[in-house]
């Protein structure tokens, strides 16, 4: 068994470490350089596995230094890896250029959806909320059921299936009639006088902040 070449292994370590450091950057070019460094480090690692330096991978090759030939398979693997890395590097450069033309810089940004999820502050922003839900607590209100088959809001007084709504209210009896809960005190007052389902949700919508808060509640109606 041949002993390993310490200098080469140290070079592998340094290349890989620098490459990993560069990969952690946000700039696409730096990441690409890091990728290339790591790739070269690993190619060097494979080379050290192919036997001691100085011998050619040719059958019958004998010289004064080595009695055996070098391993050709290791070199073939490196060749393949180099070609693949080169192709990907070209692709990443194209992406960098595209990113530069779109944003005038070559940095990777955070995922906007992730940011939106992490910045939710009120229950009303949760994905399962309806427009008719209470804007503060996010609790469902009975006006949520007050839509006709076309999706148009029906004034609560004009509802024909009021029995269903009463049953719905019974289900949430404890919640809706709790006088100590200030949010519901307003809610029940609203339910009595409102003529327009969905008005109460306005606060919740504008809190989300996509400029949709000032939309007319009837605008989402399907025609």
């Amino acid at each position: 068994m041949n002993s390993a070449n310490l200098a080469l292994l140290a070079a592998v370590g340094i290349l890989t470490a620098s490459g990993v450091y560069m990969l952690l950057e946000r700039s696409i070019i730096k990441m690409l350089l890091g990728l290339l460094l790591v790739g070269n480090g690993i190619n060097l690692l494979i080379l050290t596995l192919g036997g001691p330096a100085g011998s050619a991978p040719i059958v019958g090759n004998n010289n004064d230094l080595h009695e055996s030939m070098a391993d050709p398979l290791a070199q073939a693997m490196i060749l393949t890896a180099i070609v693949i890395t080169m192709g990907v590097a070209a692709f990443v450069l194209a992406l960098t250029y595209r990113s530069y033309t779109i944003r005038a810089r070559d940095e990777v940004e955070n995922d906007p959806e992730d940011t939106m999820v992490s910045q939710r502050r009120t229950p009303a922003d949760a994905p399962f909320r309806d427009r008719s839900d209470d804007p503060l607590t996010g609790e469902p209100s009975k006006s949520g059921d007050a839509f006709d088959a076309q999706g148009n809001p029906i004034p609560l007084e004009a509802l024909t299936n009021i029995e269903d709504l009463e049953a719905y209210e019974d289900l949430h009896d404890g919640d809706f009639d709790d006088p100590t809960d200030s949010a519901y005190a307003g809610q029940s007052a609203y339910a009595g006088e409102s003529t327009h389902g969905g008005v109460s949700a306005h606060g919740g919508v504008s809190a989300h902040g996509e400029g949709s808060g000032d939309a007319d509640p009837g605008k989402g109606v399907r025609r």
């Binding site: 990969l23 696409i28 990441m31 990728l35 790591v38 790739g39 690993i42 690692l45 494979i46 596995l49 398979l73 693997m77 393949t80 890896a81 693949i84 890395t85 990907v88 692709f91 990443v92 992406l95 595209r98 990113s99 779109i102 944003r103 990777v108 940004e109 995922d111 959806e113 992730d114 939106m116 999820v117 009303a124 994905p127 399962f128 909320r129 309806d130 427009r131 008719s132 949520g144 839509f147 088959a149 999706g151 148009n152 809001p153 969905g198 949700a201 919740g204 919508v205 989300h208 996509e210 949709s212 939309a215 007319d216 509640p217 009837g218 605008k219 989402g220 109606v221 399907r222 025609r223």
Partner: protein
Amino acid sequence: MTLSAAALIPLPVLIPLLAAAATLILGRRPRAQRYVTVTALTASLLVTGLLLYLADRDGIAVLQIGGWEAPMGISLVVDRLAALMLVVSGIVLLAVMLFAVGQGIHDGNEQQPVSIFLPTYLALTAGVNIAFLAGDLFNLFVGFEVLLAASFVLLTLGASADRVRAGVSYVMVSMVSSLIFLVGMAFAYAATGTLNLAHMALRLDDVPSGTRAAIFGVLLVAFGIKAAVFPLSAWLPDSYPTAPAPVTAVFAGLLTKVGVYAIIRAHTLLFPGGELDNVLLIAGLLTMLIGILGAIAQNDIKRLLSFTLVSHIGYMIFGVGLSTEMGMTGAVYYVAHHILVQTTLFLVVGLIERQAGSASLRRLGGLALASPLLAVLFLIPGLNLGGIPPFSGFIGKIALLQAGAEDGSALAWLLVAGGTVTSLLTLYVIARVWSKAFWRARADAPEGDLADVAPSALIDESSEDIAFDERADVGKMPLAMLVPTAGLVAVGLALTVFAGPLLDISERAAANLMDRSVYIEAVLGGPR
């Protein structure tokens, strides 16, 4: 019979590659391109179907490329697992391609000289098939690279701002995983002096167990990134949802499963001692739970489904980590089931975007009324994913849970509990999509008055919003998109109807995997 399976083995790679070349030549004739692609994928599917039949009847078939015998030359190997994966992926690839063509997917404008979607898609097909057929570690690496390079192009089609952002992180993560794979391969080569999987399996027996575990660990990290196993899964929900719907569908169905396939192969053939089983089991548990908890928080259905995808990878890792024949049976069946159901769901989301102008739960509503057909198409694979009995998701999960209970260790019971909780939470997530997007009136959606400018096709020039009423080219679903989706839903149902034969094949595949001497003898031609 004179028909030999070995002669068919190269076809699933050759046909797509040649077709890719042909479609490049036909770049200016989209119609001819489509005919070539449909023909190639259908032919490839037929060949793999035949391969599955032959592999199930005659056992493992091996092709030594160029006539060089096994440890020297490159071997392509078809066993039951590989053949099953080939068939399922062939079905999915064909259906998604038809969907994409039906969507009127196009590369846009005059600035792009050649139409690259279909050639790249065929290259992806070839890469996936190489990875399933590879009989040596380096060929597996090449297969991964081919499919990754194709996936880079598909993910960034049109190169809008979002896709470039997602594409850069996807390319970087994938390349890092490839480099780690290369390191693992270098270590394995240093320890054994061979790359042929069967040969390596024999020689690894003489390697000290610590070294063996280290090599396995490095390979597991590489495959784990590709398969999106929990601590290495954060890249997936970040990058997949930005791609066009059919691309996301095929990525979600296939690419992660290729990683799972590599884990199964390495675990059963190279490292059968079960040194890292506990690591796999814990990773599987965390993948299941954290993935599904992530899904609960999402507005966007595509992202939500990406998280369920991560979550359900955990089930397969669970089956693999048990190291029993029953566990492996469950894992194999679950892989087949999950490729189909996850792809179907992403295609349905493509239809939802088409119909409603958005895929966000803050905007959707009233779909059950607007399009009952779409509701049915969503509900069936949705319940399937959630594991409701008679569907295949239930069968796969029950097989895995049984295997866990049979194993009986405390960790296995923990995973059984975790798997049940994950299944229920999946059902919760699906039920929420159902009740919000399909049952609620659109006017009751918090942003129901807004819609995306256009259904996300390849070119996504603007991310502005318009009023729901003013959207263009939305609201009607082309028949050419509906039919492939409905076809995949039907195939998903067929997994229930033919669950018996399929579980039998999975069981025989698992038996093959657990007794690796069969594989080694088939490749190397007798024990050495």
